[in-house]
């Protein structure tokens, strides 16, 4: 590699860091200080400071009275009013890819349609033994990991009304019926944990983790789930768990900027 090319690459890395600092302002905070950014992004304070200076010079950030940095109105110049607003699927797409890259397992995206979950997107692993997602298929809310996550976001009286409408709550693979008490146990666990972990089958035992994805004003866009055989996928393990949650949180910071169009 020519020496020029190496330095070019270094400069572009530095520029990418500047853009990363700006991207942080998507998060739910009005302003940021240097040390918060330095902790959040794992950059040195010096790097953060240089990036902030460039972003203020470019007009996209301003320094407020408290000496902290906030978005400037000149962000409005970076818009194309003819471009369509992204929907839930478009917002989630880059994160579905990243979740797949992190885990190597199948990732799915589901929304609610009345009493059902409908899967609207998936990234499927090519490894042996994987969850298969049928895009467009309807599953009763109680019968899938993502569906129970969506159910648990409803009000208690709405969940009871669902149970009344759907009883007996049939299950497939394995065939059976879910008792209301079992569904409630699962809902309480989801509310406490913030997500659902479900295992089923034997040889291999399949495990799936599903996360609720919120929209603006406490609405719910749907759920994102990742699952695979227990022997190679542990969503709560130290290897994957923290990164998995960090990715989901990053997605939520974005989806919270958009109201859910779901009923």
């Amino acid at each position: 590699m020519a020496p020029n090319e190496t330095t070019d690459r270094e400069h572009n890395k530095a520029t990418a860091r500047i853009l990363r600092v700006l991207s942080t302002f998507v998060a739910e905070a009005d302003d940021f200080g240097v040390s918060e950014l330095n902790q959040r992004l794992g950059m040195t304070k010096n790097m953060v400071h240089r990036a902030l200076t460039t972003l203020v010079e470019q007009g996209y950030l301003v320094r407020n009275k408290a000496g902290r940095y906030e978005l400037s109105y000149r962000i409005l110049e970076l818009q194309n009013l003819a471009q369509a607003e992204p929907d839930f699927r478009a917002l989630a797409a880059p994160f579905m890819r990243q979740l797949y890259e992190l885990t190597g397992e199948s990732v799915s995206l589901a929304v609610r349609a009345d009493d059902f979950t409908v899967f609207i997107d998936a990234v499927e692993t090519r490894k042996l033994g994987a969850w298969r997602t049928q895009i467009g298929a309807l599953r009763p809310l109680h019968a899938s990991t993502s569906g129970r996550v969506i159910l648990s976001s409803l009000r208690d009286e709405d969940i009871n009304a669902y149970i009344e409408r759907r009883t007996p709550m049939r299950l497939t693979r394995p065939t059976g019926v879910m008792k209301p008490a079992d569904l409630w146990r699962s809902i309480h666990a989801i509310r406490q944990r913030g997500y659902e972990i479900a295992r089923r089958g034997a040889n291999p035992v399949m495990v799936a983790a599903a996360f609720p994805i919120e929209g603006a004003e406490a609405s719910l866009h749907g759920a994102i789930a990742v699952g695979g055989p227990e022997e190679r996928f542990d969503p709560e393990g130290p290897q994957i768990g923290p990164s998995l949650h960090a990715l989901v949180d990053e997605l939520r910071a974005r989806t919270r900027l958009y109201a859910s169009e779901a009923a």
Partner: protein, 282 residues
């Protein structure tokens, strides 16, 4: 110059190229190719190509339909959303706007004053509305759209004069712009309302109502489009009156905090290179 300083300057130059390329993509209006960007910047294609890769990897630009042409990516949209969230009127008007859109079937929106511009910070789309998509984040000079003319009409006379001085310098309004605005100002002063016919659909009108704070100061405007209002109408539909009252009441509590994060700035200092907007005739 020391080696360290030279290196810092080189990084800066590289960053400047990236932001220049980003602004070209933003102002292009249509997806634009790398060679055209290089031509406009007067830079070698290889330099621009690297900038574009950095911008694409950071989600600031995206390829249009997997082609070799670029348009703005997810990140600028998200940052714009994050900016809008900082206006108290956005947080306070959501529920009332949704109720208004549901009752009328038409799109309803709230715009705030930002210097000598109006900025649409909240929209609820009505079920009748297929094409007239008032966009969130749309900023217009105070004379250039119905929502902004309502705000202009709510300003004090000295402020209106200051506005026209600013407008002459930055927007070059036409004589008919001035006439339309004068009529709007008179209407807002008379009734706090502005009803204007919609050019594209005869006999239909749009209505805007001034939103004011506790001291009578203008905060923004509430706008409703479509056939619920007929051209020549003098009163607002009752659904709009209800929404108007609900938003102003909600704002009473919220105004303890600043209504706009930019309220402390001198409006003459707020200059925005507006993105191309096919909906605005100016």
């Amino acid at each position: 110059m020391s080696a360290k300083k030279a290196a810092a300057r080189a990084v800066n130059t590289s960053a400047l190229h990236v932001f220049d390329a980003l602004r070209i993509v933003a102002s292009a209006g249509e997806p634009i190719g790398a060679s055209e960007i290089a031509r406009q910047l007067g830079l070698p294609a290889s330099t621009v190509y690297r900038s574009l890769i950095t911008l694409e990897e950071s989600e600031y630009i995206d390829r249009f339909q997997s082609s070799a042409r670029y348009e703005l990516g997810a990140m600028p949209r998200l940052l714009n959303r994050a900016l809008l969230r900082r206006f108290a009127l956005q947080r306070q008007s959501g529920a009332a706007l949704r109720a208004l859109a549901e009752e009328s079937g038409e799109s309803a929106s709230v715009s705030v004053r930002l210097g000598w511009y109006s900025l649409r910070v909240a929209v609820a789309y009505g079920s009748h509305d297929f094409y007239h998509r008032d966009r969130l984040g749309e900023a217009t000079p105070l004379h250039a759209s119905l929502s902004s003319r309502v705000i202009l009409g709510g300003l004090s006379q000295p402020d209106q004069q200051r506005y026209w001085a600013f407008a002459e310098k930055h927007f070059k309004p036409s004589v008919s712009d001035r006439q339309k605005s004068d009529a709007a100002i008179a209407s807002v002063r008379r009734s706090a309302l502005l009803i204007e016919p919609i050019a594209a659909s005869p006999e239909r009108a749009a209505v805007g109502a001034a939103l004011r704070g506790g001291q009578g100061e203008i905060l923004g405007s509430l706008t409703l489009h479509g056939p619920v209002v007929k051209a020549g109408a003098v009163a607002a539909p009752s659904a709009l009156t209800h929404a108007h009252k609900a938003i102003e009441t909600a704002m009473v509590g919220a105004l303890a905090r600043a209504p706009s994060p930019f309220a402390h700035l001198d409006p003459d200092d707020i200059v925005i290179s507006l993105p191309r907007n096919p909906r605005i005739e100016t």
